[in-house]
């Protein structure tokens, strides 16, 4: 049933900015929201409608879209997410990154649901949004500064501690392909090179301050729905408490399941990391947990998971800031580094420079392997020894990448380009999906591999990748992590709920991804109906709005790229090489079984099995 009118939750305006002509105008949100509810859906809709087929990511006509989910700004648990969409710098198709924090709600209170930026500024600028007042300001004073410095300078300059800032670091300014847009210095919108596009537009930051409100249609009914959600969180008390000690807390146990299933050692040479190294990294007394000084939460989130880290001794003494995730542990395994201080310092350095850590990890671990195999030598790396386990070299190399120094300049234009220049068949060792370097594991968790390979934004795990029913997936489908059966159903279900969560702005850790099932689709229906004053059923929301969101991204990819079925396969290395040790020794991606799974996946989405594209229907 089409939505006739929306009576709440949205701010009602889309801010349009042309940086070339410095024009600023507003547009109505409701006409888009009636079709796709909000958030990423609106971004996708605008991109499909307005970006012409010939446009590349570096053209002034490319759009940089910020979309705040429709429930953001209300008390809905975990409603704080912002979607940032643009042309993907790696695949040329749809690029999208998702980020939490306090920036999204502040934009809503300033009166805007989305910001669409087009054009290119002549000199560095930043955008200042203060309720209805929007200014394009000179950013010469902050150009070249790190994300931490930028935040401090802007807070001082504007004189309001409550402003929220989305900024790029030196990496984004230098158009390093895998650079991120940072919010609150630690939350990164990393995927698809959105920071690179922002840097290319010479837009240093977007500063927001809002004094307005977000109204819901039926306040009493809405609060009843919220109470239901809170009760569900209470019921999952154990999971909530574990998340509140930060996400890496579960990995303190050296026998935690993820240590065996999602870790890739030494750029894919093996999928098993030795127990002693795990204990050394995650030891409570001397490892990473000893540097955790506190945990904080995003806006309106009942499952706070952001650790605040501080290094108190050693070479990196004094470095501090938020952020250490499961991805950091994946990175440690990938470089075979078990020194906790180096890993924390690496993560904080990447945050400071505005780099996407997944890109950096995947790309640099490939370079380490090139060094091991003798494709490059110390001469190429300015004297750095890129041996496995060398944390100091990693941090130096990260800085070289962000500032485009030495070999960093070669890597900054994309790892695939660099592989072509280095030669010696090094392209085979680069783990990437649709051009975007990926840190993920494909050989052991089958649903994880399928979700990542088929992700419309190239190689990221938040578009349906599932790590077994214990973590994510519908309760009624029976499947196991390492088995091919029934995986496609779980991946499609999770893909749909994730679309929905991104349109509504709910964090996936509070939603269906973490396995906690704090919120389930029936909660979303209740919240949307009472908040926005519409009348939808669970069937409609899952099978119409969620499917439409995914299809819009697929349409964009079909229009702008030649991506087809073969691009939905896992990287070649994981199809050819087996796991060499550990309990899953001998595992690899079985092409026949994977293709069967892929067929089922296409069928469930209603796409063509041969090409992987949409059918006429």
């Amino acid at each position: 049933m089409p939505i006739k009118s929306i009576k709440g939750c949205l701010a009602g305006k889309i801010l349009r900015v042309n940086l070339t002509t410095e024009e600023i105008w507003n547009e109505d949100t409701y006409k888009y929201a009636k079709t796709i509810l909000g958030g990423r859906g609106i971004n996708s809709l605008i991109m499909v409608n307005e970006i012409s087929i010939k446009t590349k990511w570096y053209d002034p006509d490319n759009l940089l879209c910020f979309g705040v989910g429709s429930l953001v700004g209300t008390i809905a648990p975990g409603a704080c997410r912002v979607d940032i969409s643009t042309i993907n710098v790696f695949s040329g198709g749809k690029g999208s990154a998702n980020v939490g924090g306090f920036w999204g709600p502040e934009l809503k209170y300033a009166g805007y649901d989305n910001i669409i930026i087009t054009g290119k500024a002549e000199k560095p600028v930043y955008l200042f949004i203060n309720d209805g007042q929007v200014l394009i300001r000179d950013a010469q004073s902050i150009w070249g500064k790190t994300t931490f410095e930028t935040e401090n300078i802007l807070r001082m300059e504007i004189g309001d501690e409550n402003i929220e800032i989305a900024t790029i670091g030196p990496a984004g300014e230098n158009c390093v392909r895998g650079s991120a847009i940072m919010i609150d210095t630690a939350k990164a919108a990393g995927g698809s090179g959105v920071g690179c596009v922002m840097g290319d537009k010479k837009l240093k930051a977007i500063v927001v301050r809002g004094h307005g409100k977000v109204q819901v249609c039926y306040p009493e009914k809405f609060m009843k729905e919220i109470e239901k959600c809170y009760k569900q969180c209470e019921a999952n008390k154990k999971k909530v408490m574990s998340m509140r000690k930060s996400l890496f807390n579960r990995a303190i146990d050296p026998d935690f399941e993820a240590w065996y299933t999602v870790m890739v050692k030494r750029n894919g040479q093996d999928d098993f990391w030795e127990r002693e190294k795990r204990i050394k990294l995650m030891n409570v007394d001397t490892g990473v947990p000893s540097m955790r000084k506190g945990v904080k939460a995003c806006f309106s989130c009942p499952a706070g998971c952001m650790p605040y880290m501080e290094i108190s001794k050693g070479k990196y003494k004094g470095m501090k800031g938020e952020g250490f995730w499961v991805n950091t542990i994946m990175a440690a395994c990938r470089f075979d580094i078990c020194d906790p201080a180096s890993m924390v310092a690496y993560w904080l350095t990447a945050n400071e420079l505005g780099l996407d850590t997944d890109y950096t990890t995947a790309g640099l671990s490939w370079l380490f392997e090139c060094y091991e195999k003798g494709f490059i030598s110390k001469k190429d790396t300015n004297g750095l020894a890129l041996t496995w386990g060398n944390g100091d070299s990693l941090i130096e190399l990260t800085k070289m990448l962000a500032y485009r120094e030495g070999i960093g300049d070669l890597l900054a234009d994309g790892m695939l380009e660099a592989a072509k220049k280095i030669g010696h068949g090094s392209e085979y060792y680069l783990i990437h999906v649709k051009g975007q370097p990926s840190v993920e594991s494909f050989r052991i968790p089958k649903g994880w591999g399928l979700g990542i390979s088929t992700s419309p934004v190239a190689g990221r795990h938040l578009r349906g990748a599932t790590r077994g029913p214990e973590f994510a997936g519908p309760k009624e489908v029976d499947f196991s992590v390492t088995d091919y059966n029934n995986q496609a159903k779980a991946v499609v279900w999770l893909g749909k709920t994730k679309e929905l969560e991104d349109n509504l702005g709910i964090c996936s850790y509070v939603g269906t991804f973490s396995g906690a099932h704090f919120l389930v689709p029936s909660n979303y229906v209740g919240l949307v109906n009472t908040g926005m004053g519409i009348n939808l059923t669970e069937e409609e929301i899952m099978n119409h709005y969620a499917v439409l969101g995914r299809n819009l991204e697929k349409v964009f990819n079909a229009m702008h790229t030649n991506l087809s079925r073969e691009n939905d396969l896992p990287p070649k290395r994981f199809r050819d090489e087996e796991v060499k040790s550990g309990p899953y020794k001998g595992f690899k991606v079985d092409e026949v079984k994977y293709n069967e799974m892929l067929n089922e996946f296409y069928e469930l989405w209603g796409w063509d099995k041969e090409t992987g594209l949409q059918t006429h229907q």
Partner: protein, 150 residues
């Protein structure tokens, strides 16, 4: 007797004058804002309750936050504004939260001039909805002393 003379002669006259100005300006604001904001028909009664009935019927309440349990998620600020205005409007909240991600601190304060202890809600919403159990409300310690004496 002339009411102005009464005001001037009473011992605590400054407070009385301030209070009457307070009531006058806010009832004016309530009326004007009610005209401006067409969609929100709740606005007038809630401004009325917040600024006029609220201070008169104020519960003797003290709201405490445990900084070790607080995660800085701003839920309390949001729920407070919901009580006052029936929409989510952090600027119209009695609670103020500021979180600095660079040094792991959360600034938290409450304005007792506007806090009415959540009249009509059963229990204070900031305490009810805090996901981390960091907020506790208790009766004012002056009352506690009285109770102890009894």
């Amino acid at each position: 007797m002339n009411p102005v003379a009464v005001l001037l002669l009473t011992p605590g006259r400054m407070q009385v004058i301030q209070y009457s100005i307070f009531i006058f300006t806010f009832s004016l604001e309530g009326g004007l804002a009610g005209l401006q904001v067409k969609r929100n028909c709740f606005y007038i009664p809630f401004t009325f309750i917040r600024f006029i009935i609220g201070p008169l019927m104020k519960k003797n309440i003290e709201i405490l936050r445990n900084p070790y349990l607080c995660y800085g998620c701003k839920t309390c600020q949001l729920m407070c504004s919901f009580h006052h205005t029936k929409c989510f409007w952090p600027d119209h909240s009695s609670i103020y939260v500021y979180r600095n991600p660079q040094n792991n601190t959360v600034k938290w304060s409450i304005d007792y001039k506007t806090c009415d202890g959540c009249i009509g809600e059963g229990e204070p919403l900031c305490e009810k909805y805090c996901p981390y159990g960091a907020i506790r409300c208790r009766k004012n310690h002056v009352e506690n002393k009285k109770e102890k004496k009894e």
